[in-house]
Symmetry: C3
Subunit: 349 residues, 3 copies
């Protein structure tokens, strides 16, 4: 696709400083610009780049005043960042959506599939599956028996959904994510051999959830493992059996939540965080990367860091002392010596 500055300015309701006929085909960061790209300037920190950028068009805020000559074409809009984001959306949506059923694919005769579906080659849709409208199933996806999928869902290549799981509307699941594999449950017997505890529950993923590549959401022993509306989890995140993650909680890559833990809504977890089993985490809790949560977090909005995690400013103070522990130990040794000398002096007086 190719757009002129004029077309973009018209679409955004902006005004042009420069060449209305200059054309762009893609977008770029202002500091990485090149001819044919459109960029934006919102953060004043990046203003120096507007005098040197090679991008053909830059979106700026209405009130931007240039302090040096500018060679790129400007489009002035009310809010440059929002205008850029709306163009990004337009760009992303402009890709012709896939549709139709590619061959060979395996669709059980009892499966129900809604309107405007795309089902890629080598995908497998088992008996009793029900799929809503406008669902895009890329190649090599597996959907197990009796799985229910809502409308406007995208499943990228290689996604696996085990039997009986439920996926809401407007969800996106990236490649290699496994939804509904058995929870890790074994009973130790009289000998040292473990006996598998059947995992007969399922996974429920509510609306507007995004699941990253190679993430794993295990099915419940009984009942359901639940990702509430709007949850976003990154690549390699592991959600164990019977866990519940509250609405709009986000978790960065490689974080793991152990069995039966309940995490509140609007929480933010950094990467590589671990949460112990059977823990309750309140709403709006923020957890720094690599932290370990080993007990209930009862106060909403708590900000935590460390393993075991404590209140972040406390952790930072402890961590600062930790870096100087050898000096602290030396001070204590010197104190001990001085106090010994004092004791002797005192005895001698």
């Amino acid at each position: 696709m190719e757009f002129t500055a004029q077309i973009i300015a018209n679409y955004l309701g902006g005004t042009i400083d420069g060449d209305p006929d200059v054309k762009v085909t893609t977008v770029a960061k202002i500091e990485e610009g090149f001819p044919g790209a459109l960029s934006f300037l919102a953060n004043p920190k990046y203003e120096p780049y507007i005098y040197t950028t090679k991008s053909s068009i830059v979106l700026v805020n209405d009130d931007f005043v240039a302090e040096q000559p500018i060679t790129t074409t400007l489009i002035r809009v009310k809010n440059a960042y929002e205008a850029f984001a709306s163009l990004l959306d337009l760009y992303a949506q402009s890709k012709q959506p896939k549709s139709g059923i590619e061959q060979p694919s395996y669709i059980h005769e009892s499966a129900k599939i809604g309107a405007d579906a795309y089902i890629g080659a080598f995908s497998y849709i088992a008996e009793g599956v029900s799929i809503g409208d406008n669902v895009k199933i890329y190649p090599q996806v597996y959907i197990g028996p009796n799985v229910k999928i809502g409308n406007n869902v995208t499943l990228y290549p290689g996604v696996v959904i085990y039997e009986e799981c439920i996926i809401g509307n407007s969800c996106m699941v990236h490649s290699g994510a496994i939804i509904g594999a058995d929870g890790f449950g074994f009973a130790s017997g009289a000998d040292t051999n473990y006996k598998k505890i059947p995992q007969i529950g399922n996974v429920i993923v509510e609306d507007y959830v995004e699941i990253g590549a190679n993430a794993t959401i295990d099915r419940a022993t009984m009942g359901s493992t639940i990702l509430r509306k709007g949850v976003k989890i990154d690549d390699h995140v592991h959600i164990a059996h019977n866990v519940e993650i509250g609405e709009n909680t986000v978790m960065a890559a490689q974080t793991g939540v152990a069995g039966s833990t309940k995490v509140g809504k609007n929480c933010m977890f950094g990467g590589q965080v671990g949460v112990s089993p059977h823990v309750k985490v309140a709403d709006e809790v923020k957890v720094g990367a690599q932290s370990g949560i080993s007990g209930d977090i009862r106060k909403p909005g708590t900000i935590l860091l460390g393993s075991p995690a404590i209140e972040i400013s406390k952790e930072r103070r402890s961590s600062a002392v930790y870096r100087n522990l050898p000096e602290l130990m030396k001070k204590v040794s010197e104190l001990e010596r001085t106090v010994q000398e004092l004791l002797q002096k005192l005895d001698n007086k």
Copy 2:
């Protein structure tokens, strides 16, 4: 499936308090019960729920005495938990096992496949593969050249087994697990480029092993990476080349064991544990979540925590002091001041 209280009581050798004709189709926790579900009460902590549960049937111990009116139907058995577990097994086994070979699938003419196999569509079985009886291979599985698989094995969708690997009897491998990919071995040359060291060994998985979703077990450089009988590893666990994991050792999600390390039998590792290369870990060692093992653990039964991991009670005491390090530092500073004053006072006397 649908069962009456009478049928279940007969099967379990129990007695009924209530309606012998009430029907159930599934199971639920007593606190999450609903009409049509069967629950159990074993832990006295949950007793209050028996007066409010919506489950249609609850299994209780023979000696249970109700202290309030009960509306659900009770089945009295010797051990309510064990009776429930046996019903769970029955429920899990009652699912009609898959069988037959779905099309399209790719089975090399030289592959040998035992009795009662299920081979799902889009699965690939290479030359020289040998597969035992009663093996269930779900769709989109890859089994490389000369792989040997025992009896009663289940491979879920998307499992990959590289060439020459050996899987024992009664193993279960969950979706996305990769067995036998190359170990991470490179030699640094004269320049800064690395030269790949060919990884020509294999992986041996003994009997009764369960491997979680998206786990990776790398093949040995030479010889074998080995998971001994009864090992259970959770989702995202990484086992590097030439590692050996002893009998009945269990490892929770996202744990990683580096190259050539030997872990003993009956060990228990929490989630996100890391073990350094070329380390020996004794039998029955327990390691807390997020710990790091960087040297040999020689004493069987040691319980470890922390990174680097130390004996758990020692780590907990250190960790408790760590949380109060700023206070400790303040005390030391105050002591220094007091001691200075003391020195001056003494000099003045």
Copy 3:
């Protein structure tokens, strides 16, 4: 394959002590040897094994002098380790490379595929894809629209490459690795719902890169996520959007690098390391396992450990004191008591 000692000695330019007709079919470590295997002895530490090994042939250095009777056949070469490595290479290369296009596979008519390709069954090659010569694509691989792949590339079963990504020459990608899934980018709106930021960039993998099983390399928001020439990343490694990893940098398993971070060249990261977003790491930096990098590392060659990571010798000293924190606290308490007593004594004088 089967080789006599004579054939191997001729190939390596070595001389034989023992039976020139003895045959081997595989290789083994000298301490794990068995009849039919070839081993080597380079490290004097392993010399005792040469008197007891069951390997049929052992490569030794020219100047090796036996101190006890030897039953195995020796081949004397200039450098036993290098000779062994060259045999390993030969052994690995001797496997007949796969070629041809297996059915069923899905290859869009607009895709261009070079000479000597292998395309396994159930692989999917989308529109506009361009693939170089001598590329081996195992079964169940997905290659999205407009992906470009160089020469001599191997993609193992189940690899997924999203649209528009670029893979250089001589790369190897192991099973389950996902290249080009969406970066984890969401904007928080007026309410608590997140709005997805379209990820319209791509991933560029340069020449001689190896990517481990189940690794994830996310596509850039705009521009490219880049793995430079010679990068080696192990299983389960996560590289977030807009990250750049410098030439010949190696990262061990389960390490994660957050968004927009730039890592220099010739760096070495241990397993389970985490790096914060928007960080710059200099060249030749070494990072110990489980470390967390949360700020810029400006000095090339720095060696780091801990979370947050500090200079390794500093971390080790702090860690040593940490293990004895309870004793340190006890000392401080005793000091406080002694100083109090001193104060009283002094007042009494």
